[in-house]
Amino acid sequence: MTELVLFFIFGALALVGGLTVVAARNPVHSAMGLMLTLFSLAVFYVVQAAHFVAAVQVIVYAGAVMTLFLFVIMLIGVDKAENLSETIRLQRPLVVLVGLTVVVVGVFVAVGGRFAWITGVVGAGPEVNGTAEAIGDDLFTTWLLPFEATSLLLIIASAGALALAFFRPRRREGKEEGAP
């Protein structure tokens, strides 16, 4: 019963957040919308016994990543309302068309009811409990190699970000760069 209530409240919040991301004129509002969605998902993770993932979601995503987003928005000064009218011809109608197709397919699948969402053995064994201990146990045994690989990835990413930050475009004499 609790789950049902939580699902409807935070499901609605997640959708509102998602729509805000897409529809807000001001990027700062978009960021706030995304934050809302992220928090809602964190709630769902807790509900589904993924405690560690929920914590990481809040700390890394809602904390670090969103801060970074806001930081960049402020830095490059796009924190004001922008024109949302479409400039590319046919882009909007086609997006609508593609979207409608997805909706139709989705409805068709949902109503048809014959579609197996999940293939595999369902409900065998004990309920999962994603505590930090359970995750840590497996992470440093079964998943050690991918885990170490991600550390390498993070180092490369930070080095790449540094390199890009230090990059200064060279001025070519008298020539507008990249003119078509």
Binding site: E3, L4, F7, G11, L15, G18, V21, V22, P27, S30, A31, L34, T37, L38, L41, F44, Q48, A49, A50, F52, V53, Q57, V60, Y61, V65, L68, F69, V72, V78, E82, L84, T87, Q91, V95, G99, V102, G106, A110, W117, I118, V122, G123, E127, V128, I135, D138, L139, W143, P146, T150, L153, L154, I156, A157, G160, A161, L164, A165, F167, P180
Partner: protein
């Protein structure tokens, strides 16, 4: 009435489609980036939900790794946006069309 895995999956699908639509409609690179994050999170939700249904912790590990990769991606992506902004003074991807045929 209990919440089944299907509900979560449908919610995730809707969020995913919203993200995809944002990616196609918005021209501010930062907002597009946020749309991508939205899509990634939608997928994460499916991982956790299906993992719970299957009584398997692997779904949560997938989320963990997606999270790390997304973080790395955000760092590099935002750095690229900043350096583009420094040369072009714009965050609109429509103005970056030098590769036009």
């Amino acid at each position: 009435m209990t919440v089944t895995v299907d509900w979560y999956l449908i919610l995730a699908a809707v969020l995913f489609v919203i993200g995809a639509a944002g990616l196609l409609v918005r021209r501010n690179a930062i907002v597009m980036f946020m749309s991508i994050e939205l899509m990634l999170n939608a997928v994460n939700l499916t991982f956790v939900s299906v993992g719970r249904e299957l009584r398997d912790l692997t779904g949560q590990f997938a989320v963990f790794f997606v999270l790390v990769v997304a973080a790395a991606e955000v760092v590099v992506g935002l750095a690229i946006i900043v350096s583009i902004f420094r040369t072009r003074a714009t965050a609109s991807v429509d103005e970056l069309s030098e590769m036009k045929g």
